[in-house]
């Protein structure tokens, strides 16, 4: 992920909360952040900046959340972090919209990991190869 350390730290903590608990296994969180970096790279600069700003806002905004007792999102425990994210996602304002989009992108990145896909029984490559072969055998290259 190309953005600075505070953004990466906030993104990692957010991933730990919004992705399934298995995100903490092995190097998965790092790989989610790598995917996120690639996704953000596809966004126009303004949207990229907005996403980075949303992560900073998420991190610093926790100071105002009563349960956090003045601490940043990256510094609170899982229970408080989860409650904070839940409270944010329940709101209906532009900031919450941005957090929802961020949640969307990060969970997409998690389920893009091949081992996660295999764990839920999704392994399309052999299937695609098999039906493509069947098509070729049945209809040839120029049907």
């Amino acid at each position: 992920m190309a953005s600075g350390v505070p953004v990466r730290r906030a993104a990692r903590r957010f991933a730990e909360i919004v992705c399934p608990p298995e995100v903490r296994a092995g190097q998965r969180a790092d790989r989610v952040l790598d995917e996120l970096g690639l996704m953000l790279g596809a966004l126009p600069p303004a949207a990229r900046t907005a996403m980075a700003a949303a992560l900073i806002l998420l991190d610093q905004g926790a100071r105002l959340y009563p349960g956090a007792r003045g601490r940043r999102f990256t510094r609170v425990d899982d229970r408080v972090a989860g409650a904070y994210v839940r409270a944010l996602l329940a709101r209906h304002d532009p900031a919450a919209e941005l957090i929802r989009r961020l949640k969307s992108v990060i969970t997409m990145c998690y389920y893009e990991l091949p081992e996660v896909q295999r764990e839920i029984g999704y392994d399309p490559a052999p299937y695609i190869a098999a039906v493509s072969r069947r098509r070729l055998e049945t209809y040839g290259t120029q049907p």
Binding site: C19, P20, M39, A42, C109, P124, V131, R134
Partner: protein, 510 residues
């Protein structure tokens, strides 16, 4: 991978590019590629400029992330601002959105054409006028129903549920040649069976002598007096970096960038419409996704999705269909996170996703903001929100009738629904519009056709009112929502606009 003859990518362009041709076409999707093939076939010297890259069939994989980054604009993350906001996607690659759409190919409904003709005074646009175009398109793109053995279990279940409710269901028509049922449409068809522009009109145009430049973004359309003289732009380097300058001198300019980019380009080129409609009148066909969990293994990713459409509620402007989503896409829209998300996704192979497409009555607007590019604003009307809610409810009814055990509705904060009775009780209460989660893949209407320049941006054949030689050939020209998958309408109108341009070629000097 070597690009075909006539196709140039950024790798082949070391420095400034200055070109000349009869007609320059901006965009290589359903509209642009069609016009390119038509004009090139008539002997016009054609240049096509495509902002996205060239990605051949052999490069397509099942990776959603890779597809979003390479084949879609802005990673597929467009957002129309409103309450609720509407997420939308646009294709950006050689072949445009036809590379990533589901390939649904339907003729424009006769009643829609009649309404457009009557409301806007459009010429030669009624069913008998367009039928010959549709015949030709369907033959060329091999439009037809799916081979039965390739239909996915998710589609069969949804069809069975709808039929159990007594609803009219029709097999979907696709532009495909013996589709293998890879369920990879939105990541690019890995077999080339989908007859997207990438494998049909683009190679045809190239074979007929057109030149296509991928990775080239047009900044402005240039003019001398009222008449167009070409375009200026730049080469797009990897990572979106700005490359060398590009100038194309041409006597005709065809804009086919889609309903978001087309008005933005026209506005930043200094063009104005007396109608005040440029960028307005945006329709989006809002969609929503209902997620159902079954006891049985479904594996919706095996076999083609959207094999059927429920047509029972067309008179209400509602179309229902089952659409398989890859794990990343599903995880991105599910209203769950953390452990709960993990538990839901663990049952991925038992999930069917389906939903309504709403023919919207409200309209939005595309505004070009300097430095930010096009910004989209769309406010879902109360009427459309109510129909979207009804459509989601009907979809859930069909899924329960098919045997679903649990259903998640596309409303934020909605509880999991476990039976039809619970569904009825839930929907008996008002659903807050802001809690809906609409998305769109059909964007239309921002340079609408009308014979009256005070009502429309373009005339009956897509020509920009008052600007000779400037033609729009994409879904921007639709006077309103088409109410069905729009690709075939775009192609038919583009073909018709191209032939009109050819008829008047002496006037334009092309």
């Amino acid at each position: 991978m070597k690009a075909p003859d006539g196709l140039t990518t950024q790798e082949d362009v070391p420095g400034e590019l200055s070109l000349e041709c009869g007609a320059v076409i901006i965009g290589s999707g359903a509209g642009g590629a069609t016009v390119a093939a038509e004009l090139a076939g008539a002997g016009v010297d054609v240049i096509v400029l495509e902002e996205g890259g060239y990605h051949p069939t052999e490069s397509f994989t099942a990776s959603t992330g890779r597809a979003l980054r390479t084949l879609y604009r802005d990673g597929g993350g467009g957002m129309a601002i409103g309450r609720p906001s509407v997420l939308y996607t646009e294709g950006r690659c050689v072949g445009g959105s036809t590379v990533v759409n589901g390939g649904m190919s339907w003729r424009t409904p006769a009643r829609v054409l009649q309404r457009w003709a009557e409301q806007e005074g459009l010429r030669a646009i009624r069913e008998p006028d367009l039928d010959p175009y549709f015949d030709e398109i369907e033959a060329r793109l091999s439009v037809g129903p799916q081979d039965p053995e390739t239909v996915g279990r998710d589609s069969r279940l949804f069809k069975g549920g709808a039929e159990a409710r007594g609803w009219a269901v029709v097999p979907n028509r696709r532009n495909q040649r013996h589709c293998a049922g890879t369920s990879n449409c939105s990541n690019g068809c890995p077999t080339g069976a989908k007859q997207s522009m990438l494998v049909t009109s683009v190679p045809r145009a190239l074979a007929l002598g057109a030149r296509l430049f991928a990775d080239c973004r047009v900044d402005r359309i240039t003019r001398s007096g009222a008449a167009v003289t070409g375009v200026t732009g730049h080469v797009v380097r990897p990572g979106g970096r700005r490359g060398p300058r590009l100038t194309v001198r041409a006597r005709a300019v065809v804009v086919a960038c889609g309903a978001i980019q087309t008005p933005s380009l026209l506005v930043r080129s200094g063009l104005r419409s007396a109608s005040g409609q440029l960028g307005r009148n945006l329709s989006v066909h809002p969609n929503a996704v209902v997620t159902a969990v079954f006891d049985e293994d479904v594996r919706g990713w095996q076999g083609v999705h959207q094999a059927f459409q429920v047509r029972e509620f067309m008179a209400e402007g509602l179309l229902l269909t089952a659409t398989n989503l890859t794990p990343p896409m599903l995880a991105g829209i599910l209203p769950a996170y953390g452990r709960e998300l993990g538990e839901l996704m663990a049952g991925y192979n038992r999930i069917v996703t389906a939903g309504p497409l709403v023919s919207d009555t409200g309209t939005g607007r595309v505004r070009h903001l300097p430095g930010l590019g096009p910004q989209v604003f769309y406010q879902l009307t109360d009427h459309d929100a109510a129909r979207m809610t009804r459509g989601a409810g009907l979809t859930a009814e069909a899924l329960f009738a098919a045997g679903a055990r649990r259903v998640l509705l596309p409303f934020e904060g909605a509880p999991v629904v476990r039976d039809p009775g619970e569904l009825r009780r839930l929907l008996a209460r008002p659903v807050a519009k802001r809690s809906l989660q609409p998305f769109s893949i059909h964007l239309m209407g921002t340079a609408r056709m009308s014979e009256n320049p005070r009502r429309g941006v373009t005339g009956s054949f897509g020509e920009f009112h008052g600007v000779p030689g400037l033609v729009v050939a994409d879904a921007s020209v639709f006077p309103g929502p088409v109410g069905i998958n729009p690709m075939e309408t775009v192609i038919a109108l583009a073909m018709r606009n191209a032939r009109r341009l050819i008829e008047g070629r002496a006037r334009y000097g092309i």
